[in-house]
Symmetry: C2
């Protein structure tokens, strides 16, 4: 295994042959970021484009894990394979495989047709908004036909990550709740499918009407997001959800929107990579010995801030 | 005047001889930013450090202009000179001298001991948070002993600009009001002096108690911000405000905090200049012909985003 610890390409090859441990290590490399992650990115890029991605976001407690698990059962009943990325931008800890509150996923632990991976911040340059698309590409290149990206909350970062999928599912509960209220606009913007989970509770119809009204006020494209009712723990409505995902997929494919959406996402990723690289450069510049010296001169009034900035930037360029 | 239109150093010299038109043009150069502004910055830097800056921020309608005008009368009664920068980060329009709602300042229009200048965004790289300290340095180098920076609102940008002064005055009215509530924490952080203006209105004592309680919950340094009551339109309490400014100045000087505060500000300015320069560089990179070509290759799947980013950044460095 020593070779696998050091060579990301070897890890990729081993993962390709079905070694789960190699895949886990590979995902850790992607999560950490840096040159090794970029190497994997370049290596896999020519082999991607076949996986279809599903994003799922919703407030903590809305039942996303149960819904993911229920959806996994439907996918498996069709003998398809599904990889699940559980992304938590608020946590510096990674679960590796199945940890914490992901107990419901235990049904699928021993299933070779399901892959589950938690991802946390881990100091990746640019965080999970850059690590997640890299992780998806790795799974794509390894031949996983479906990748579901589940995020833990409804903050803008979570919504952005889940929203960068081909089909995005927004999960709410009857009555919405405060957490959702705070970023309703952000959720409305990314939703391709609304799911009212725990729909056996009081207020489900009101919530549906509420969403319907907001959709009527929005400027929608050709696709009108369906509003589905589920009780994930009883597998209720989950078949219909899977149908809706497939309908949305057909819509994106026939309209040509799938290609354009993916293209826009890659362009946004490029911009973010460039921005993060330069941010990193600012941090490096401001920490170096030249900066220390210039800061001292600045403090002593020997130099003005614009001259100091020019010298720092020139140094960076040379 | 042709020479003055093109050479910022000549403008500075003319302003130094007391030409108000040259000073106005000089401030426009600073407002616009760019190389000419930087030239003035370097030219004046050795001559600065004598001006004392006062920041004033508060919600629109709280009476900042009236208070500034009343304060100007007190300063003039002591035969001191005062420059006033009215900074509006939300507006792309500059008033040049005295415009809009600055009618109350009309008292001081013909007074050679008062200089009034409105500043607006004007596309300065980094906006007014970078243009304002440059403008202050110009006034400082020209020998203005007091510079008052008044901002139009209580948004974080306004509070940051007014807060980057030696003494910062936060103006509120009895009852505070919604605009202030939204950024109370930001205001508490920068306030060296609280002024409850329009203190003849109902609720002034409650507001004082409210501020007092918040101050008690804050971790203050050696200086406890006084809470003053004024009715600026009647000149009531304005003498006491001027005394408080002078007391705070003495405190900063005797404690050595004046030097350290100014040093921290200059360091923050350096960081912001470097950040803005690199942001500008990202924008330039993403707009160039190489970026267009790489974007096309990216859209066609011929290249991965990390490789595209590396090529863009390498191009920038060569």
């Amino acid at each position: 295994m020593n070779r696998l610890n050091t060579d990301p390409i070897a890890l990729f090859e081993a993962a390709h042959e079905g070694e789960r441990l190699a895949l886990a290590k590979l995902m850790s490399v992607v999560e950490r970021g840096g040159d090794e992650a970029r190497l994997i990115g370049s290596h896999t890029y020519a082999q991607v484009g076949n996986a279809y991605t599903i994003g799922m976001t919703g407030a903590p407690g809305s039942g996303k894990s149960s819904l993911t698990s229920a959806l996994a059962s439907v996918v498996r009943s069709e003998e398809q394979r599904l990889a699940i990325l559980a992304v938590d931008p608020s946590s510096p800890f990674t679960g590796g495989a199945i940890l914490g509150d992901r107990v419901r996923m235990q049904d699928h632990v021993t299933d070779e047709g399901i892959y589950i991976r938690s991802m946390a911040t881990r100091g990746h340059l640019g965080g999970l908004s850059l690590a997640t698309p890299q992780a998806v590409r790795v799974l794509d290149a390894l031949g996983w036909p479906w990748v579901l990206i589940e995020t833990v909350g409804v903050g803008q970062v979570e919504v952005d990550i889940a929203g960068a999928a081909d089909t995005t599912i927004v999960v709410v509960n009857p009555g919405w709740g405060d957490a959702v209220q705070a970023n309703k606009a952000g959720l409305m913007e990314v939703a391709d499918i609304f799911v009212i989970n725990k729909a056996d509770r009081k207020g489900a119809d009101d919530t549906r009407r509420d969403i319907q009204q907001m959709l009527e006020l929005s400027s929608l494209g050709d696709w009108e997001p369906p509003i589905l009712m589920t009780v994930a723990t009883d597998q209720e409505g989950v078949g219909a959800l899977w149908e809706a995902v497939n309908e949305h997929r057909s819509h994106l494919q026939s309209s040509g929107e799938l290609t354009s959406r993916r293209s826009v996402r890659t362009q946004e990723e490029l911009l973010e990579i460039v921005q993060r690289s330069l941010e990193h450069r600012v941090a490096t510049l401001m920490d170096g010995p030249t900066a220390t010296k210039l800061r001292e001169e600045l403090a002593e009034g020997k130099i003005d801030p614009y001259t100091a900035a020019s010298r720092l930037i020139e140094m960076d360029e040379s």
